[in-house]
């Protein structure tokens, strides 16, 4: 198939530090190419792909401080995609609502993966959008999208070979995410403190607001011994931290549509203690691959039960349910079904 993948322009594909959507777009693109498809990636100029790259800005928007009208790059990218639409069998949009109004005018089908939570204003736009096959990344996200018609739920998947299994952990809890109130960093610190466990925090601090949040709310809680900030983690550092953790703490405070870090933990054999928000109960099986907490104190109490979780089971579940192969199988099948008018 001749496939266009349209990525967001905020960070490169694949991302350098944070960027879950761009990570998935990269994995999907490269695997589709490996399977013999002709894939064109529409993304920032500092993206890398073994397929064709089409770009409208030399650097991803968040890496280029010279841009005054960053959204012009986005609209320009969409323009390029529309103009070359006849060269493709299918367009797969990951750029969110920016592309939606254009889909209708195209003569080829558009798959649109909903990567982010759906806000009311976005929802209103999507409900008037035609010629788009919407994919949700969890059943909970699909439910939140009602009455929008969701074609399929496809869970994210990651490369099994990139995540070595670790049978033995090293005696600490891990918080691994952007340092952000919504991600539950304060709750993670409090849960670890109450449970008298060491907590390692890794993740990047984004923007002025992020820095202010870190200085005012997080830094005063660090002691360099039991609560440690390890900076932002590149891929190797992330694997090292995940492999060594007794558990990943994921006290997410929003209706999380997926949460890639949970499946990365499971792939390393690391159980997850998470708040029961959004997609979390679909990804973490309570008592099998981790525990679902109702509150910070509940999470602290659940720490004592971590040894009940078998790390081999975590790995096995991740391989079965969250592999890249399975994800790409599902997208390939969806493209095929659409093109043969089965759906």
């Amino acid at each position: 198939m001749r496939i266009a993948q349209i990525a967001p322009l905020w960070v490169p594909v694949p991302p350098i530090t944070h960027g879950g959507t761009e990570y998935i777009v990269s994995l999907l693109t490269e695997e589709l190419i490996k399977r013999g498809h002709d894939v064109t990636l529409f993304a920032s100029g500092d993206s890398r792909t073994s397929g064709k790259l089409v770009s409208t800005c030399p650097k991803a928007i968040w890496r280029d401080r010279t841009l005054e009208d960053p959204h012009a790059c986005i609209l320009h990218l969409i323009k390029k995609a529309i103009q070359s639409a006849h060269e493709f069998d299918i367009i797969h949009n990951h750029l969110g609502f920016y592309f939606a109004p254009f889909a209708q005018e195209l003569k080829i089908p558009v798959v649109h993966t909903l990567h982010r939570p759906l806000y009311p204003e976005t929802h209103r736009l999507y409900q008037e959008t035609r010629n788009v096959h919407f994919v949700a990344i969890s059943r909970d996200q699909a439910a939140s999208a009602a009455p929008l018609a969701i074609e399929k739920v496809i869970y994210h998947g990651i490369r099994i070979d990139q995540y070595p299994f670790s049978a033995q952990s090293k005696g600490y809890m891990l918080f691994l995410s952007k340092i952000d109130e919504e991600k539950g960093i304060i709750e993670a610190i409090e849960a670890a403190r109450i449970a008298k466990q060491k907590l390692i925090i890794a993740g990047n601090i984004v923007g002025k607001e992020g820095h202010e949040f870190f200085i005012r709310r997080v830094k005063p809680r660090l002691d360099g011994k039991n609560v440690v900030y390890a900076g932002q983690a590149d891929f190797n550092k992330k694997i090292e931290l995940l492999s060594g953790a007794d558990a990943l703490l994921f006290p997410i405070r929003r209706r999380e549509p997926f949460g890639i870090v949970m499946i990365e933990a499971l792939m390393c054999g690391t159980p997850v203690l998470a708040f029961k928000e959004g997609s979390v109960p679909e990804i973490i099986e309570d008592g099998k691959t981790g525990f679902l907490a109702r509150s910070t104190i509940h999470m602290a109490h659940l720490v004592a039960k971590i040894p009940e979780i078998n790390r081999n089971t975590c790995r096995k579940v991740a391989e079965e349910r969250f592999s890249l192969g399975r994800m790409v199988d599902e997208y390939e099948q969806l493209y095929r079904d659409i093109l043969t008018h089965r759906i």
Copy 2:
């Protein structure tokens, strides 16, 4: 003619405090209706028009803190405009680059007024845009847009009857603009101080960055006597301040595409001391309706020459060159020329 006017969504049409583009869109829309045209205004839900209003958000984006995806409202508005395009003879876009990629697919002509400075990323997009008749708001802006083909230069115009002429000023300089480094507020204060003149400052402070700028750079320079901050001005306050000023100080630090406040000052009979940037020399005739300064010190020296300017002349020039009637004549003629394929 059946005309669609597409406004930006950031502030209402007409604006409440700042918003030059939205002010012009409102004036143009209402005058076209008065002349018998059938005008539909695409704008935020809190906009007012005697024509039809189409909206996708109840409030302008800057007035609605609940929006997480404000750009979805913009894309939605564009979608609505495209879908109803067959109901119009012509679309006039003031929303900037967001609409550009869509113009090509339309069967009706699109006029696009460039309201803002052209940044490289926007320029790249416009150069690939077809089916758009670009209007520049000054000759300097048209020059800055090269090699983009500009159909016409149309200066902004305002309602003569809304600006009473003031033959006599009250002995102060005025700075009237968003409180912003680029607008030259620091230069205005320094020029007034060197010239030993009272300066009244009026204008709004926008966002966190604006507040920080005000607190750190402007507030320490206020003394409540010779340098006074009068807060943000509504329309009546603005007229009062302009009418009483010996001169408007306009030490703009960017390549200003137009600068509506200059023609508002002239309409009240108030001369303008301005930096010679962008469109300024096209609007202010040196020695006739004000003076063009090369630097802050030069501006301070020119203050002594203000009595040489005849306030009647300022008013007369404004009536001749910058009236709403003249602006709407020009846009009407442009629409007509396009529709009869004369251009």
